[in-house]
């Protein structure tokens, strides 16, 4: 691990103090992540997180500083990773109230519940980290709910211990965030998932460099799985989270590849004349839906069976047909087509090939994908002149805009359907933002080095 150098700093508790003082802030910069990792000769900047829109309704809780966390080389305190995760969801107001003395155990919090209720929090997370050998740690964690007790005033919801190496501490912090999130909301957490995205930088010679990056969902631990002097587009995760399909122009012509995220090894899937674009996995992982133009001047939607290579044409006309996305049951695709003159979303039944138009609201709808509930789609929507991210109810056609910057694109939903990541431009640079499904919480993840685009949220990794 000696090739890994941490050369930055963090100033993490500032943002949180402001958050406690003023719940209706407009812009809070949580400089949680101002660090750089250096791998071999490469420097990668992590995404920097800013909270750009306030929290309205959220569960107030205390995530206390873990005993022993100050001695870890994590880049930010262990408990700050958890606090940040929970706040990122928009469903929590996770704070770190200052304490007189130490709070070691969930039992101690339970005993002292009246004090904690006085701090205006509903739940308290405590923890302790102890070295137990060479680069190994024991992490104990307890979650106390101050109001849900039945036989006692409080209830201990989590009381666990973990044994991990130092390289897995950050992964464990995300895992604990998932446990807390699920205990308190009943919904599976997404903090152990990942983002894939395209990073565009300039080389020292002034040439563009494109990398396909994969990071933790909080922007930390970014790694390149592909670096190319030519554009990379449209990353899409396999349903098991082990592979990413994408378009690479490395030969100067577009080709679709699949990379194994762990090993970096990859294979070429298509290299037909013309457009090879918009790969998207079927829910069972057996097929890719893609856009191919073959010898024509326009793309149509095809399915490729990854085992046999068999190609099945789905759309067949002279308009632009692209951006296929499977319904969660795998039986239909939604896609973008300008067959009616302007780009709109259509849905095709893969059994009958019967096709119907889905969007009627707005003069430009594109980049649509299903939310896990199968009832709503998230899409790029232009009502009048501004491109924003919106959610549409398939049953009644209602379109709700979640963003309003006007230069937003490439929406991708978290696997629990609660947060959308998308790309936008700020000061001439591409950045990623996240918005909660109620539109109330917006986070920005700019990269320090270049322009970031086309985020794809991974599925659950286990």
């Amino acid at each position: 691990m000696n090739h890994l150098a941490i050369i930055g700093t963090f100033l993490c508790d500032e943002g949180k103090e402001i958050l406690m003082l003023n719940r209706h802030f407009l812009i809070i910069r949580l400089f949680l992540l101002g660090i750089c990792f250096s791998f071999a000769n490469n420097a990668y900047a992590v995404l920097d997180i800013e909270l750009t829109n306030g929290v309205t309704q959220s569960i107030p809780m205390a995530v206390l500083t873990f005993q022993g966390e100050n001695n870890l080389a994590l880049g930010q305190p262990f408990s700050a990773v958890i606090r940040h995760d929970l706040n990122l969801s928009g469903q929590f107001d996770a704070r770190n109230p200052s304490l007189r003395g130490e709070v070691g155990t969930p039992e101690a919090v339970a005993m002292n519940y009246q004090y904690w209720r006085g701090q205006s929090v509903d739940d308290v997370l405590v923890g302790r980290i102890q070295p137990v050998g060479f680069h190994r740690y024991q992490v104990m964690v307890g979650l106390v709910d101050l109001y849900r007790g039945t036989t006692a005033p409080t209830k201990i919801l989590i009381n666990e211990q973990f044994n991990v190496s130092d390289g897995d501490l950050r992964g464990l912090a995300h895992h604990i965030s998932d446990l807390v999130y699920e205990k308190l909301t009943g919904v599976k957490g997404i903090f152990s998932t990942r983002l894939a995205y395209v990073l565009v930088t300039q080389t020292l010679e002034g040439k563009k460099q494109y990398s396909l990056q994969v990071s933790d969902v909080d922007g930390y631990r970014p790694r390149s799985i592909l670096i190319s002097p030519q554009p990379i587009m449209s990353p899409s995760w396999s349903p098991d989270g082990k592979q990413v399909a994408y378009v690479s122009f490395e030969s100067k012509l577009p080709e679709i590849y699949i990379s194994n995220v762990t090993t970096g090894q990859r294979r070429k899937i298509t290299s037909f004349p013309g457009i090879n674009g918009a790969p998207e996995w079927s829910p069972d992982g057996s097929r890719l839906a893609v856009a191919l133009s073959m010898k024509q001047s326009n793309p149509n939607i095809y399915l490729i069976h990854l085992g046999t290579g068999q190609l099945t044409q789905i759309t067949r006309d002279n308009s632009i047909n692209t951006e296929p996305a499977f319904s969660p049951d795998g039986r239909s695709l939604i896609f973008t087509s300008d067959r009616g003159g302007r780009p709109q979303i259509y849905q095709v039944n893969l059994g009958t090939l019967e096709t119907k138009r889905v969007t009627f609201n707005g003069n430009y709808n594109a980049s649509a994908s299903f939310l896990p509930d199968a009832k709503n789609i998230v899409l790029l929507h232009r009502g009048d002149t501004l491109f924003n991210i919106a959610v549409m109810d398939l049953k009644n056609g209602t379109v709700k805009e979640l963003t309003k910057a006007g230069r937003d694109e490439s929406p991708s939903a978290a696997p629990n359907g609660k947060v959308i990541v998308y790309a936008t431009r700020v000061n001439g640079k591409g950045v990623l933002e996240m918005v909660s499904m109620d539109g109330n919480v917006q986070l920005r993840l700019p990269d320090l080095l270049g322009t970031v685009q086309e985020p794809a949220w991974s599925p659950y990794m286990s």
């Binding site: 791998f39 071999a40 670096i227 587009m233 995220v261 970096g264 090894q265 856009a291 980049s367 490439s410």
Partner: protein
């Protein structure tokens, strides 16, 4: 609870072994699975996994579009900018580009082994993949004009970069007008 503990430890062991695999394969993309070993060092591309090593980079190989052969032919044809520009949301080749299309057609017919790549591009508004479709339309539109003038389709490769290769930086309408274009790029000259 034991399961979770086991999973975290298993994950740790997994990462360690992946790191070793990535190290041993640092300079090729050969595979545990043969299907993945495509030897992808061509075209200045590098691949890597999330194992701890395996990330390295070489020099970019490709410069701006109008260097080398294209500049040579363009000079010969008396053309400053071997590019056709388009109006917003249009793939129609305007009359003012007839000259560029004609002299390139003449060159291609006179040099049957010459090859032209027609690189369609769009401004950055809207969906990236939809813009790939728009760029292809523009490239095909120039291809059809050249073929109407007698050029063999064998000499032409239309391709779309959509909005991925803007002509100039900047988020202004002036910049966008320069983005909406087809670059006529010679990949072989006769």
């Amino acid at each position: 609870m034991m399961n979770i503990k086991r999973t975290v430890m298993g994950f740790m062991l997994g990462v360690t072994s992946v790191g070793l695999v990535a190290c041993s394969n640092a300079h090729k993309s050969a595979g545990l699975e043969d299907a993945y070993g495509d030897g992808s060092m061509a075209n200045g591309v590098q691949t890597a996994g999330l194992g701890e090593m395996g990330q390295y980079r070489g020099d970019s190989m490709h410069g701006s579009w109008m260097d080398g052969m294209t500049r040579q032919v363009a000079n010969q044809l008396g053309v400053n900018d071997n590019t056709v520009y388009f109006a917003f949301d249009s793939s129609a080749v305007e009359e003012k580009y007839n000259y560029i299309v004609q002299v390139n057609a003449n060159y291609l017919k006179a040099h049957p082994s010459a090859h032209l790549r027609l690189e369609g591009n769009t401004d950055p508004k809207g969906s990236r993949e939809y813009n790939i479709g728009l760029g292809q339309r523009r490239a095909s539109s120039v291809e059809q004009r050249l073929m109407a003038l007698g050029v063999s389709s064998q000499q032409l490769t239309p391709v779309s970069y959509g909005e991925e290769r803007p002509a100039v930086p900047g988020d202004t309408e002036e910049a966008y007008a320069l983005d909406r274009r087809v670059n006529l790029v010679y990949t072989r000259i006769g």
